[in-house]
């Protein structure tokens, strides 16, 4: 890993921990962006952590860009020394795979896809070497995921699967982005899964849909009253496959304000995870089952 510092115009500093994705790069970027936040540098207006990088927006009338750059560079050692451990939560997110709404949408945009004759899941299963779509879906939900970035549009989580690199699922984005994606579509691009928080344009492959609202600007949904955005970086997610009947039931519960996402408080330690991935994941999922 080699850190790269650069300017984004005269109002941003962009720090890339590594050009490839890894949990090590994510942890370092999160630690360093936290160090910048804790340093309370006058003139900083936004701190945005991402998968393997972070960005600081600042007011150059308050602090000169070269001084800002110097202050951030001085914080790198803090990130290197920081414990790669965090208190976080694991959340069960129900997913209705192969649902009729994403199916209708993917058929509508078939000419923009690598494989116009199949579905997004057919294609993803095939290029990742799975015998069946069912086996691919199983690989997608059997092990937990880590929210490594929130963004693109309001409240959209990017998720990275907690498995060895050789087990990571990878799919390209659509050849040309769609102009429409159903709200709460569970998508996939590169090595990242995502949940489209709102309806709109998108380029990720579409696998299914969750009945769980994750962005509510009106803050009327019971679990979004404190804040309109559900996810934050560091959250751990376990997808739970559901059928149409359960999907419909949860949609009604969300609307009625009675749905409570299943959540457990957990600790995540990167070194412990790297030393024993199946064991760490088993413990995470056990915590969820006890919740």
């Amino acid at each position: 890993m080699k850190t790269r510092y650069t300017y984004g115009g005269d109002e941003h500093i962009y720090v890339e921990m590594d050009d490839e994705m890894s949990l090590d790069a994510f942890f370092k970027s999160l630690s360093m962006s936290n160090a910048v936040r804790n340093a309370n540098i006058e003139g900083v207006t936004e701190i945005c952590p991402a998968n393997a990088s972070f960005q600081v927006k600042f007011n150059p009338d308050v602090i000169a860009p070269d001084q800002m750059m110097e202050r951030i560079k001085q914080l790198e050692h803090k990130a290197e020394d920081a414990e790669k451990r965090m208190k976080t939560r694991i959340i069960e997110v129900p997913v209705f795979y192969q649902d009729p709404w994403t199916h209708e949408t993917l058929m509508r945009f078939r000419e923009r896809h690598q494989d116009p004759d199949g579905t997004d899941l057919d294609y993803a299963a095939r290029i990742n070497g799975f015998d069946s779509v069912e086996a691919f879906i199983e690989a997608h939900h059997s092990q937990p995921w880590f929210v490594s970035m929130v963004g693109f549009v309001a409240g959209l989580p990017f998720l990275y699967q907690l498995v060895e690199r050789e087990k990571q699922l990878q799919v390209p984005k659509y050849l040309r982005p769609r102009t429409d994606t159903p709200k709460q579509t569970v998508g996939y691009g590169g090595c990242f899964s995502c949940v489209y928080s709102v309806r709109g344009a998108g380029g990720y492959q579409m696998f299914g849909i969750t009945p769980m609202t994750i962005f509510d600007p009106q803050q009327e949904i019971s679990y979004l009253r404190d804040f309109m955005v559900f996810f934050k970086p560091g959250d751990i997610v376990k997808w739970k496959p559901i059928d149409r009947a359960e999907y419909d039931r949860i949609v009604k519960e969300v609307e009625a304000g009675t749905y409570k996402p299943r959540i457990a408080e957990v600790d995540f330690d990167l070194d412990a995870f790297n030393a024993d991935i199946p064991g760490t994941n088993a413990k995470l999922m056990e915590a969820l089952n006890d919740a």
Partner: protein, 323 residues
């Protein structure tokens, strides 16, 4: 006291100076695309410079006033009318209770700002009245205005009409429009020939140009330095591991058509960016119509900061002029 929207225009939204602090959640700053014009409009009618105004795109609305107010229209040259009688742009004028504010045809620029004494007083969302339709935040129910909407106004002390921003202190893009760029971010991904070509080529604004981003076409395709793509980035040479985007950053998906992210920017994604438009030139982009000729000009940080200072001085001069 309210304004009655008789017809909304093409895409008229309520904007102020935006909502900083939520970009890490994918909620952009938003606010006026031409912040200079919004500040001027507010100054002319005695509002705080960041008060909420209407941002009008290409075609003006028709608005009936339920009380006397001062109005100023800045930015694009979109001549205002009061009950059909033409008024000056960049100059404060009165609209009486019961009168209708309308507009003639657009003569130059792309976005006009309508400030009304007292300021638009819709409920703020996350500290701003700016409309962000993708996230359904701000404005009226999170959307652009529509016919039949009633828009509340804040209270104000009476001030005199007739104040005007001198022509020398108005700011509009030239022909071709010049947009200054500070190279950076993933600039190193481009070959030397592509780096030179980007600044040498003639570009024009593509039809896909909105508050989220402005797309440009006409230049040569950009070539990338060859490499094995990093894990997680995706196969295309223009792909990176999804990262944050800077406001004003220039992404070029597939190396083909540059897109400059603007006030309603997506906060991140998987395309390389070659640098960013300097902060002093962001306002100008909001005034570019589709098909406008554009040249990108390479500058260094010192030039970017000097341009920013110059723009601040222009605003200070206007403040001094208006007393």
């Amino acid at each position: 006291m309210t304004l009655n929207i008789i017809s909304p225009g093409l895409s008229t939204s309520i904007q102020d100076l935006g909502r900083p602090g939520y970009f890490h959640l994918g909620i952009p700053l938003g606010g006026a695309m031409d912040r200079f014009a919004l500040r001027c409009a507010n100054m002319l009618v005695g509002n705080p410079e960041g008060a909420a105004c209407f941002e009008v795109v290409f075609m003006g609305p028709e608005i009936e006033f339920e009380k006397d107010a001062l109005v100023a229209v800045t930015g694009a040259e979109l001549p205002p009318t009061v009950d059909g009688e033409e008024k000056e742009c960049w100059t404060a004028f009165e609209v009486k209770k019961g009168q209708k504010l309308g507009f003639g045809f657009l003569k130059a620029g792309a976005r006009a700002y309508i400030a009304i004494s007292g300021g638009i007083d819709t409920p703020p969302a996350l500290g701003s009245r700016s409309t962000y339709p993708i996230g359904a935040l701000g404005g009226i129910e999170g959307r652009v205005i529509g016919a039949g909407d009633k828009v509340p106004l804040g209270d104000t002390d009476a001030i005199e009409p007739g104040q005007s921003v001198p022509e020398a202190l108005r700011r509009m893009p030239g022909t071709p429009a010049q947009l200054r760029v500070l190279p950076g971010l993933y600039w190193h991904r481009l070959t030397e020939a592509a780096q030179e070509g980007f600044f040498a080529d003639d570009w024009s604004v593509a039809p896909e140009a909105d508050r989220m981003g402005y797309r440009f076409k006409g230049g040569k395709a950009l070539e990338f330095v060859e490499r094995e793509q990093p894990f997680g980035a995706g196969a295309d040479p223009s792909n990176i591991v999804d990262g944050c985007y800077s406001y004003g950053s220039i992404q070029v998906p597939g190396g083909l058509e540059p897109i400059v992210l603007h006030r309603d920017a997506v906060s991140g994604g998987g395309y390389f960016t070659l640098g960013a438009i300097i902060s002093a030139d962001m306002d100008l982009i909001g005034q570019l119509q589709p098909h406008t000729s554009v040249k990108f000009k390479k500058v260094d940080m010192d030039e970017a900061l000097a341009a920013r200072k110059e723009r601040k001085k222009m605003l200070a001069d206007i403040r001094a002029h208006l007393g």
